[in-house]
């Protein structure tokens, strides 16, 4: 597989100067002459999920011969791809599609069951920024620790401390314990450690999701720098914006199988199509297909100016748009929504009659196209969320005419350190004994 040294470099030079095409903000580069640095062939991974987990020796001793009932969950099936040196490779997929499992196999965190995986060069050992940090250590010690995890020697890592702090704009904080850092500072530190240590291949699981807008911009700039300096990056995300703008090539996973690989624009469109096609709603088999009265056309979040967004700042309200086409008439249509967080905790649910100018509609006719726009206040703490929607008949929320589980994946970002599930605005007053 070794292509003689100078050749691929010449190709890169050529591609970045002469064959650049600009599409949106992204740049398409032809890297097909570069050597392959990751080659996966037929990767498969099955998890065995015990129905009843035996997690004590006592139970083992009491029931030594009880056969463990397990369900098999195919997380990945026969996934093959190649990533070339200097390439930005995106892996897209819905929640549970296997994209994180794949990244964990690449990072040697999980074992593969079948298939072959070959990697050339040093691979970053992290899949999330800052997981190697120790809260009790100061910034400089953490940089050294992280550097060593990346495969540097201690001396090499120590010599990088100043450069990393410079890049992160944290020069004055080298002696401060990490636990006193704001989340924005932490991300900056983690990101610059990753960039400054000489890792050939970076694995990133949705970093752009965290941090304030200015930091996202900084990350984007850094990504562009990395692109130019020839770093190879594998980026896992559900955000089609980053796939289309950053990646040279992308792959789409659905239920553990790769459904498309190649041009990021095509992958993005396929993802959207998959998300809202009948195929996607088939897994809700408890709504028999003959009772599905509507077809989902799309679901997205909008900002105040009507632009589609997938990330929300903490203070932005949530405006969800769900567009569908009626296939059969529905009386007294009722529209319900639900927001769940990444741990599948249901945070909020609501139901409202479908309205026109404030008045409930009595009947939606077959062939009508409707976009229901729901605005809810955003009390969510920073994190990942998904929203599900249903259209119901006869004003009865159990009589489902269409449903879309996890129709919208979105991220709320912010730097405040709220704990818990929802953000509250406390208004305090004080009463002392004498006030009555």
């Amino acid at each position: 597989m070794n292509i003689p040294g100078p050749l691929p470099i010449a190709c890169v030079g050529l591609s970045s100067t002469e064959t650049n095409q600009t599409r949106g903000k992204g740049t398409v580069r032809d890297l097909s002459g570069n050597p392959v640095v990751i080659r996966a062939e037929g990767l498969s991974k099955t998890f065995e999920i015990p129905d009843h987990k035996v997690d004590s020796l006592k139970e083992r001793a009491v029931h030594p011969f009880r056969k463990q009932e397990t369900r098999k969950l195919k997380a990945l099936e026969d996934v093959s791809f190649e990533v070339r040196q200097g390439e930005f490779f995106g892996i897209a997929g819905r929640n549970g599609s296997g994209k994180s499992t794949l990244l964990k196999i690449l990072a040697s965190i999980y074992t593969k069951d079948r298939g072959s995986l070959k990697v050339a060069g040093q691979l970053a050992p992290f899949i999330e920024l800052g997981v190697g940090f120790n809260q009790e250590l100061d910034a400089a010690q953490n940089i050294v620790l992280n550097g060593v995890m990346m495969g540097l020697t201690r001396q090499e890592a120590e010599s990088k401390v100043d450069t990393v702090l410079d890049f992160a704009e944290l020069q004055g904080f080298s002696d401060l314990k990490i636990k006193n850092f704001s989340s924005g500072m932490l991300v900056r530190l983690a990101f610059s450690t990753m960039l400054e240590t000489e890792v050939d291949i970076l694995l990133i699981d949705e970093v752009l999701a965290v941090g304030d807008a200015a930091f996202v911009q900084k990350c984007n700039d850094a990504f562009r720098d990395m692109k130019e300096s020839g770093k190879t990056v594998v980026l896992v995300t559900h955000d089609m914006e980053s796939i289309e703008h950053l990646c040279d090539r992308a792959m789409l996973l659905e239920n553990g199988r790769q459904t498309r690989i190649g041009d990021p624009g095509e992958v993005g469109r396929e993802y959207m199509r998959l998300n809202f096609s009948e195929a996607a709603s088939e897994h809700d088999s408890w709504v028999p297909s003959d009772q599905r009265a509507a077809r989902m056309l799309g679901a997205w979040l909008e900002d105040g100016d009507g632009r589609r967004v997938s990330n929300l700042a903490e203070e932005d309200s949530i405006r969800a748009v769900v567009e569908f086409e009626m296939r059969a008439p529905v009386e007294e249509p009722l529209f319900t929504g639900m927001v769940a967080n990444d741990d599948m905790v249901h945070i909020a649910a609501w139901e409202q009659p479908v309205q026109r100018e404030g008045m409930p509609i009595e009947r939606l006719e077959a062939g009508e196209r409707v976009a229901v726009v729901t605005e809810i206040e955003n009390n969510l703490v920073p994190g990942r969320y998904n929203a599900s929607f249903r259209l119901c008949r006869n004003g009865n929320s159990d009589d489902v005419a269409m449903q879309m589980i996890g129709a919208i994946d979105f991220v709320v970002y912010g730097t405040s350190s709220h704990h818990g599930v929802v953000r509250v605005e406390p208004r305090q007053s004080t009463r002392f004994g004498d006030d009555g």
Binding site: G5, G13, S16, S56, S116, L123, F126, I127, M149, R154
Partner: protein
Amino acid sequence: MAEAPPPPKLVEVRGPTALGGGFRRFFELLWLIAVNDFKKAYFGTVLGYFWSLLRPLALFAVLLFVFTRIFRIGSEVEYYPVLLLFNIVMISFFQEATLGSVASVVNQENLVRKTRFPRLVIPLAVVLTGLFNFGTNLIAVLIFIIAFGVPLTWTWLLFPLIVIALFVFTMAVSMLLSALYVRFRDVGIIWSVLVTAIFYATPVLYPIEIVPSQYVDWIMANPLTPIFEQARHWVIDPGAPGAVSAAGGVTGLLPAALIYVAVCVAAVIVFRREAPRIAEEL
């Protein structure tokens, strides 16, 4: 594109392992983490060193009172107070390292599930930090040795052999426990009981020669017993029986040696088998 990177060579990825990512990285990480933990304990607070000494010293003071004033074993044994402190410092290393490592891998869930981290580093760092503590506690022992006028002998030079034997065994037990704990959470409870039993089954409070003869074989089967007896013979009291004479000959040491080796072999096998799956089991 300033310089041409060397043409990369594709290498098969074998997935997570106990050592994960080469020996150099393994030892660098092990050292860094153990040193950081040690520093945290000692330099975090002004009295750090005294706090860490306080536990063995307090235990020592109580036991010394009980065994010299109430049971009066102490008066029959040469340099009993020094021996007692020495033994307590050694057994404390074993206890603290093994108890600390049981849940260590599970507690470092974030590292295990989100980074390619050599799994073995986690329990070993706990043991290594314990070893540093052991070293500083030995300073207190040395002060007692001088204060009680224990004669200096050339056999002190052999003490590192004791430390190695104790360290290896502690390491093996820690590996075994931390790997099993991932699957069986009651290992933690079982071990906290067992560790107390082992404390009494090891000649810490008493010298081996006062153990009734029908129990000597049992006590001698404990792999820690020969280590403790030999340490006493070499460091505190050359007149005391060493491991061999306490066991009544080399064959008497066989059970302890077999258990020692079996634990070490089991530790390596179990840890190697469990390491690749730890991230998935959590």
